[in-house]
Amino acid sequence: MSSWLAVAPLRAGARAILPLSVGVFPFGLAYGVTVVESSMNDLVGWLASFLVIAGAAQLAISDLIDQGAPWFIIVGTGLIINARYMMYSGALAPAFAQFPRRWRIPLAHLMTDQAAVTSLLYYQHEGDPRHRLAFYAGAGLSFAASWWVGTTIGVVIGATIPAELQVGFAAPLMFIALAVPSVRDRAALIAAAIAFSVTIIARDAPMNTGLLIGAAAGIAFGMLAKLRGEATPVVAVPEPAEDEEARDDG
């Protein structure tokens, strides 16, 4: 077992993700304070940091509980926000396929935007499965630990934080800090702009479904942009007729 957790790559993973771990700590703190200030149960809100490990979803859940949204809307919103982990899961699958089975689910639980991206960068130049596993474990665990410590301190000191500090502003800040780097191409920009506008327009939609409607509209329009982007070169460069036929057959 110990041979799968070599100390050097474990440390390398923790070191590579360190700036992000430092950055997420105050957000964990702010989440903890938000839980105490919201009508969400403090203990459950704290526990969520260990069971869910996803700041965006956790903040949205505490916000929706505070607004009195029905449970299935809250669960649905949380799962939609976290659906992006399937993308990371797919990207990490080739590396994980070489890990022993008993490690896969515990390591998957530590999957965050930050740990996945940091590990995928490392995997570009490191092929040894043992090094890959230990690096991911070091990055994932140290990053999650920063979130756990931040949340715990936030829940403990939450009641003593004065309103003038405006800790609630950390929630939109966290979403800005995650949203801006996620816009990597034109389709993503369209998806973000549409989701943003529709969420505001649909604010009076029943049962707090505005965000779900906005996100669905954003993804749909982003996909349209991607499909059009793919179609353009085909129109610009007409292919020989036999190629067209061959494709129709296939």
């Binding site: 430092v22 926000i81 994980f96 896969r104 966290m174 995650l178 993503a188």
Partner: protein
């Protein structure tokens, strides 16, 4: 408490299933390209919607124009230029405190 716990347990189970999906059961199954493209758009769409919901709305109503809008815009520029969690948080919180002190 029970309702909150149920919500967290349900989201935790669903999230673990999605995190583990491809790396365990479906390790040998490729995600269809269209699905992969759509999943790639989940983060920008959902996160932009969350910015709208928490910055421009307050409990479902349009937030009156004020320090949060200005500080949010400053934070967005800092996030774009630095791509750093820490700097974005620092710039945003400092701006909102400063604007509050000035008003």
């Amino acid at each position: 408490m029970t309702a909150d716990l149920f919500i967290i347990l349900a989201v935790a189970a669903g999230t673990l299933a999605m995190r583990a999906s491809m790396v365990t059961l479906l390790a040998d199954v490729a995600i269809p390209p269209r699905m992969e493209q759509a999943l790639g758009l989940v983060a920008p769409a959902v996160l932009a919607g969350l910015v709208a919901q928490t910055l421009f709305l307050d409990a479902g109503e349009l937030r009156p124009f004020g320090s949060w809008y200005v500080a949010g815009a400053i934070a967005a520029v800092v996030a774009w230029r630095t791509r750093s969690f820490g700097w974005t948080l620092l710039a945003g919180m400092a701006s909102v405190w400063l604007l509050q002190a000035l008003s």
